[in-house]
Symmetry: C5
Subunit: 303 residues, 5 copies
Amino acid sequence: MRTDEILSYYTSDCPATIGKLEWMLNQGKLGGTGKMIILPVDQGFEHGPARSFAANPPAYDPEYHVKLALDAGLNAYAAPLGFIEAVARDYCAKIPLILKANSHDVLMGEDNPVPAMTASVDHAIRLGCAAIGYTVYPGSAFRVDMYEQLNELADEAKAAGLAVVVWSYPRGQDLSKEGETAIDVGAYAAQIGCQLGAHIVKVKLPGPNIEQDKARKVYEEQKVKIDTIADRVRHVIQSAFDGKRIIIFSGGSKIPKEQVLEQVRGIRDGGGFGSIIGRNVFQRPREEAIALLDELIEIYKGG
Amino acid sequence: MRTDEILSYYTSDCPATIGKLEWMLNQGKLGGTGKMIILPVDQGFEHGPARSFAANPPAYDPEYHVKLALDAGLNAYAAPLGFIEAVARDYCAKIPLILKANSHDVLMGEDNPVPAMTASVDHAIRLGCAAIGYTVYPGSAFRVDMYEQLNELADEAKAAGLAVVVWSYPRGQDLSKEGETAIDVGAYAAQIGCQLGAHIVKVKLPGPNIEQDKARKVYEEQKVKIDTIADRVRHVIQSAFDGKRIIIFSGGSKIPKEQVLEQVRGIRDGGGFGSIIGRNVFQRPREEAIALLDELIEIYKGG
Amino acid sequence: MRTDEILSYYTSDCPATIGKLEWMLNQGKLGGTGKMIILPVDQGFEHGPARSFAANPPAYDPEYHVKLALDAGLNAYAAPLGFIEAVARDYCAKIPLILKANSHDVLMGEDNPVPAMTASVDHAIRLGCAAIGYTVYPGSAFRVDMYEQLNELADEAKAAGLAVVVWSYPRGQDLSKEGETAIDVGAYAAQIGCQLGAHIVKVKLPGPNIEQDKARKVYEEQKVKIDTIADRVRHVIQSAFDGKRIIIFSGGSKIPKEQVLEQVRGIRDGGGFGSIIGRNVFQRPREEAIALLDELIEIYKGG
Amino acid sequence: MRTDEILSYYTSDCPATIGKLEWMLNQGKLGGTGKMIILPVDQGFEHGPARSFAANPPAYDPEYHVKLALDAGLNAYAAPLGFIEAVARDYCAKIPLILKANSHDVLMGEDNPVPAMTASVDHAIRLGCAAIGYTVYPGSAFRVDMYEQLNELADEAKAAGLAVVVWSYPRGQDLSKEGETAIDVGAYAAQIGCQLGAHIVKVKLPGPNIEQDKARKVYEEQKVKIDTIADRVRHVIQSAFDGKRIIIFSGGSKIPKEQVLEQVRGIRDGGGFGSIIGRNVFQRPREEAIALLDELIEIYKGG
Amino acid sequence: MRTDEILSYYTSDCPATIGKLEWMLNQGKLGGTGKMIILPVDQGFEHGPARSFAANPPAYDPEYHVKLALDAGLNAYAAPLGFIEAVARDYCAKIPLILKANSHDVLMGEDNPVPAMTASVDHAIRLGCAAIGYTVYPGSAFRVDMYEQLNELADEAKAAGLAVVVWSYPRGQDLSKEGETAIDVGAYAAQIGCQLGAHIVKVKLPGPNIEQDKARKVYEEQKVKIDTIADRVRHVIQSAFDGKRIIIFSGGSKIPKEQVLEQVRGIRDGGGFGSIIGRNVFQRPREEAIALLDELIEIYKGG
């Protein structure tokens, strides 16, 4: 089974942590395929409640999301402390919960983002979560604080038998807006997440542009293929320990359905491990969202 | 009973914490209605003693306030360390005490407020308090420090069987003065307080203005109703886990009685959980204050 | 006895701490009157040795001061670590020692003063001290650090059965030089010290000026009396929990004897709890200092 | 045996730490000679994956490197957390692993580099590592943080029976680009690494230039010989406790084979303890890399 | 015996700490006289290896110095972690070792020096040291960090039965270069070291200039004698608890022998407790250094 192959890459973890990864890989309709779809709902904190949920008001209710993830047969559900506290007792045994340990809001603008630690490993243990989630912003002037916070958090989480999921989102004073999703930067973000000890790394789907001059030189000299979505996914996967770490790709803001499908086909073709998809799910009405997720699941099953 | 319904939303807390919330909801003349009025007296620290108490000199005495809260049949009394230490032995069993764990003064001006931790969970335990109170200023350049301090404090408080009350007051370099009470910002403040794990969140009563452009777009597109006080309270309650967290509204500086009554009717009609009202109480003579509180209680009872 | 009445205000402290306060109130010639005179000698650190002691060279010797405090029948002696370490073994059972836990020097100028933690509760316990002393500078850009340091220190001290004495000296970028001793600022400083959990607060004797506009409005509207020294002392005492906390007043730099006597009469008439008086004592020859202290004691006894 | 002589310089370490140093000195083809070649692969984190591995794609796989180090008969393998976690179970008993405890990336430019702590002594213990590696940047405005972090890390590592390897790379606002490898600066870097308690210090091979005026005066007055590579290596070794600490030299970016050989001959002739060589190894195809390493080993054996 | 008289000033220390002071006072040729000469060798870290040792190359070897201190009959040897680790096993029972707990280098220029903590009390215990050494820079913008670090370190050291030696070197943005050794500043530095709880304070030999205006006024009014070296030493000793703390004077950079002798005669005549003398010793050939030290010892014996 593909699950066993993937788990075989994680040779330094304790049985309890491997068990959590196994649960996530085997949960839901993609169970056993080695592919994952995770529903993350941290936008209430990250962007504000109306911007996140007004388009589909039932989504104001924290139970709405975890139930949707369960009913749609997804692999896991990720959210900040408040949302997890609201549902943990009823759902922690039914679907793997990922507690987002840090959060960020947009009531202040900034060039160098810095999230706050808003939950702990103790919270995750008490709430029956399968994993801790943590966002790093490589490129931010505050990256050192984030890496060190994650280092301690991950050490503690692994000792408690939890899995560690890292959101690796380059942003900061020396990166252009387009550079945040450049292929060199995205591959670097995946590498950094893996070197920091994450079991699962979430990156943005990168574009064909290259941000850093020293990197461009190498991409050109070595003729690294980055033309199609699948090429770029393949390069990111290679950059993340040559396929030996689970890398999943995020969807970003709500886009037309056909575009979502195209992205997911590219992730599948490039050997990506799956999607972490939020706004494209919960900003659609429930039935439409479930139908879309069913199509994505079928694409990944065909991978 | 409405109390049980509200408590049913807090599924992840230990019995001792639920017991503290139950005590607060069942204390005083509003006991069992699911509505609350809390008396907060931190203005001596926040604005200075003469500005707070010279209008009603008996209010210089720390015992004045807790006795007023008890005699008027309110649900709880909140104050900083010194005021609580002065009355805890005599009152901690008679009315729920909320220890304000951080404080701020105005002897230095600043664009980005930063409060200081001035009491701990150990203090609250020793002083027989029912809850810890903590102020966050979303939008401040120091918000990360506050969120992280609250995260640790709340974790510790919950482990000690205490409830957590968060004052969520947006303020900071990128927010206009009016923006601090804009509807988008107020709803966001409520969401942040809940995501940070608070049991009760206190926000300012928001106005009909919208501060952030990205939010305005959504409010307009989705036609979110924000015309009346009741509309706005309803939106804030929805933004706070769709009514599954206790949100109370603060009164601000002393205003004419009729205005207070109008605000409270709006809070009631919009489904708010109650008021936290300080200066409008203790800057009036005791008898006048008790009479005003009786009227507010009657309004909420009619809700 | 007045001592018992004063102690009755401290209802939240453990017997050991109450015992320390009782010792301080009952020590020396003012014992039992509810009045106190404390000798503080931290100027060697705060201003330098020659500026402090050259006028009266025997005062270079750390034993000189504690012996003077004992022989003059004062209530307590306060000093930094080095001075206390030099005398604790011989004097800690004879007169209450107050260990100054933070210190500041003037080898660097600054608008926002920041003292350093230079002694701990462990030191105070080991050295047999009755209390910990700590200076806060409300108004300084570093006030948050001070309040938080004091919060932890005070918590630890109370758990160890010690008393907590706070020097509350407003200073900082937004305060004018005169504003540091303005009546609104002085009353605010007393309030802050009490809210931070101090048992005894030391403030400067305030003048009749008002520093902050929002405060001036209230002083004028409410016609707060601040004309004489006694008026101002009365207002400060009221501002400090309406007389339920011990507030003592500092003398400042060396001034003519008659001026000292006038100040002390004002403190007595306004209901102040006493004086903390350093340079006006140790910069006079020993016999002259003892004679002056005798006069002060007589004034307070007549209060 | 030369190993015993070298170990005799480390008189203050516990047997377990000495055992780790002995293992490193006795491992591989140089075992017992007192010379070392270490393979470090932290460039995926430090420069990005494509810049590091695209020239030789099998090198994306973390297992590639440790296997290469083992097969080529090197003394040890050093890498960040992620790479070590990926191979520790299979290789920690076969070749000494050095866990790089701090890391740095280049997604933000800076004059004063500051690495992040990305692994701990607990990680090293759990992963069966022989040593902890740590980079300091003497000259950086953040050097104090690094020295203090290393101080704690080294204390902890020694108590756990691990060895401590320090990368000492001068860089910062007052150093010119050439100054980073000036002979005075390089010798100083070696001294600092040793004074900080490292067992092994890695420095860059210095050039004949002198950076600091006060140092130049001494080099000229005392006629310190710094003309050839061997002269400079000899001076660095002398500067590092007169040969009583293991100093190894790094290779830097990929250079022609002949240049590598010349450098290594200089290191040997000057009495250096060996090389730590990364890009010149893993950016060459495996067979070519092993052949090059064989030549280096022969040079050191002839030393 | 003078040793007993000096020890009688330290009434608050535990027997183990007194024992360490007694050992230092009774060690070597000055044993029992109450005078001390200490050899400090931290210049490798503070100034760089070549600037420190190239003039006398055997001095690159860490063993050179401690052996010299022992053979010359000095009272103690002080050095940073690396140098102490290299010799502790062989010398810790033969001569008191002082572990310098913080260090500073000159690869970056700065107006406000800030040293790094580079060794701990645990290191000192494990290495059999008699004392911890720590440098404070009064006047530096970072002095608060230093005072607080020393406060914790000293508390820990005293609890472990060690002695505490403080280097008190005024430097910072508001002090002129000459002001660093002005008499008012030097006396202040001695006072600060003593107030911070040091057993032994090392200051620079001050000149006849006065740096601060407020101090000048007092020196002139009180006619403090500061004309000769002996006058100034006497004033510093007085400023350090009136002779009740051990104050020793440092030599600074290498100067002609006659000048060294003159300084030491002044220290003796002014009642100083001795010298801490580094570069004037180890930058001379060993035999010349020992001869010079013999002369200094004779001068102090005549004191």
